[in-house]
Symmetry: C2
């Protein structure tokens, strides 16, 4: 069977993907695909596993047939419930693994994060091959844009799921970005505070300075800077729910005069500031807008100002995993570090310091997943089983991606190219007498 | 007078530039240019100074006429000895300032570094203007290539000037790259040792590991690593004089078994190593060879290996100052940080840490200049007055370039993209209990 015929067999319009459910009424087409397994199915599974670099897993099929091609112990058992799911997987593993996992036609027992780590490595290796299924299908996949209107739609689809949902598994401050664990056994609460301090110390904030934040989430960093560094912050965000929460917190903490939250696009930032900071927004900007973002920073930063960009990244230019982009983060694109510099280079900013916190994000996700699993009953009540599966896969897959090196996390500190108001060494960041 | 006619007036074949001397026999053409000054000369000086952003200087002409267009005190007095030099300056200030300074037809009294800092800022601003003299002339300027044969020629022209010359003004270990001053008042000797330790600590060298160094200068770093970190080093360099010195030092220190010096091009590095290090070579590689350099690193680095690139850089892609490229560093090109990443990205290396040591290079050059000035009589005996002027201008100009932000200094630490053998935080770099 050729790949083309496989693709024809499983081709379904996008809308039917949206509606896919595990136990719907069988159509005549589906009935044909539910026929009993043959040795061809077993061979297809073997082909699929080989093409993914033989990850250490065992596959069981709808008739109980079991295939374990790798040597040594399997880290996970994957159950495929019908032939249609197998064929979808063969045609487009990167996207369809997530789809089938969510509708329950693929179930995994054992170490899901470890399995995904192996699958990511396998997909990455097979993507280097010119005619891999991923490269064939990926070429025709429509991704979301990042115009101001698209951006609002993209952001609201993810961040406006409801603050109650995020409260179930984030830290108390609702920091939804990579934490900084001074030691791996730190708590998540402490590590999120340490991340904010690490950012503030890199920026060398001084009392009464002004800061602009692009993409402020639920306001944790802006409030931390205002409360602990004595600065005045204007924080921008296009997620209505997040801005409402941040304003409420500012009132509770009595920081309304020092932390102002504005529901607007980063493109509309005005004024002049001593520091620019953006933690976890660049992933949503889109590389075609990087130069413009740099222009915004150039417009608003004082001559001796400092800036920090904190973003998920890739090793080289490569779109986000297709399933994550479609189901979790529409419009997201994690840039390579070289691409990140396309924000700064046209405007002659000088990069002072880059730090890669990839393993810290893997650990952050481990904490989030543990809390999410503990709250999964509540999430199921709020949404449904499919939602729980999708978010569990996203949290496990992201942990696997950071652990495997598929994803990176860069903090880039910069100043104007001709400013000498820069620190002499970085020793001040590691001085334990904290400011 | 248009710029085109100015250029025609001063156009001389490249060979005659080589032979230019201050007091040669006047040709009929030269005699025409030696005519007494008129108010036109004064206006041209004013035009030139304005086009450079009005640096705080005073210009005196060959007839004693004095022009001081800026407000406030002049930081330097520039004497222009004849009209030919003025016209050359007008047509191509970036290149001709150095030429006239060396042949003595331009002399500077006062703060040469400060003056050059102002001129660099002015040239940089005028280069943004589409039809600046720099952009017109620069387009036709031939630069040196970086093929293996070109590279050998380029390197020998600079680094084989004679070890005795460099001994006069470098530190005892002959480190000819940016030092790391833990505090600004450290001595140069200590700061060069601290630079080597900073590099070794970033690479987390452990006893009996293997290291390859691309472009090892006089061997200071290779010998330091072998002596203090217990590693085995293979160090490559195409400068015969430097390799001879490094081998001699290895014998004196009894390190022949641990530090091997190879007179060969980086492209011919073979074997497998735990660490790759290159301090001050990338500037000589040429951006068209960056991908290939990354391929060499990919070929020789162990799966959990670490690498460090230390290089002069620019804020954005821009050739080296034309006079420095022609007279001091043929074939050199300081890349932007984004361009540096073109070495690493195609091979999926993960950048762990970038540090910008620009102000440390300005201070290193301040130390070198002080020593060079103290030894200038000896240099004049070894070479001639023109050589002393050229090197003094190069050291002052480089100091000005780092101080003004025209030049940057990047240390880029990296590992393979999927290696988790990376440090948890960078605190270990700032732990005072040194390894």
């Amino acid at each position: 069977m050729t790949r083309d015929s496989l693709e024809a067999l499983v081709e379904t319009p996008a809308d039917s993907r949206e509606a896919a459910e595990p136990r719907r009424e069988p159509s005549p087409h589906a009935a044909a695909l539910q026929s009993p397994p043959t040795t061809i199915d077993g061979r297809l599974v073997r082909y699929l596993i080989e093409s993914l670099g033989n990850p250490p897993l065992r596959v069981s099929l709808w008739n109980g047939e079991s295939i374990a091609p790798g040597e040594g112990d399997a880290m996970a058992q994957v159950h495929i419930a019908n032939r249609a799911s197998l064929l979808k997987l063969l045609a487009d593993p990167e996207f369809q693994f997530g789809e089938c996992f969510c509708d329950g036609t693929i179930q995994v027992e054992g170490d899901l994060v470890g399995l995904l780590e192996s699958l990511i490595a396998g997909l990455s290796a097979s993507a280097s091959a010119a005619r891999s299924p991923r490269s064939v299908i990926g070429r025709f996949r429509r991704r979301h844009g990042n115009s101001p209107a698209d951006a609002r739609d993209n952001i609201q689809r993810h961040y406006d799921l409801g603050n109650d949902f995020y409260r179930l598994w984030l830290d108390r401050g609702l920091s939804y970005t990579c934490a900084y664990f001074r030691a791996p056994d730190a708590t998540l609460e402490q590590a999120q505070i340490d991340k904010m301090d690490h950012v503030c110390r890199k920026l060398r904030l001084r009392p009464d300075e002004t800061v602009v934040e692009a993409g402020c989430g639920w306001g944790a960093l802006a409030l931390h800077m205002a409360a602990h560094y004595g600065v005045r912050v204007r924080a921008f965000n296009i997620s209505r729910e997040q801005v409402a929460h941040a304003r409420e917190q500012a009132c509770i903490l009595g920081l309304q005069q020092r932390a102002e939250f504005i529901e607007d696009d980063y493109r509309n930032i005005g004024g002049r500031f001593d520091a620019f900071v953006s933690v976890g927004m660049l992933e949503h900007v889109g590389p075609e807008h990087f130069r413009n973002l740099g222009g915004v920073i150039d417009r608003v930063l004082e001559p001796n100002g400092r800036g920090l960009l904190h973003s998920i990244g890739h090793l080289k230019p490569d779109p986000l995993n297709a399933w994550i982009e479609k189901r979790i983060f529409p419009g997201a694109y994690p840039p390579s570090l070289r691409e990140m510099l396309e924000v700064l280079e046209p405007w002659s900013f000088s990069v002072l310091d880059v730090e890669n916190l990839r393993l810290h994000y893997a650990l952050t996700l481990e904490h989030w997943l543990r809390r999410f699993d503990a709250a999964s009953e509540r999430v199921r009540e709020m949404y449904d089983e499919r939602f729980v599966r999708a978010w569990r896969l996203y949290l496990c897959g992201s942990q696997a991606a950071f652990r495997s090196g598929e994803m990176q996390l860069f903090q880039v500190l910069f100043a104007r190219g001709r400013s000498n108001a820069v620190p002499w060494t970085r020793a001040y960041l590691y001085d334990d007498a904290r400011g």
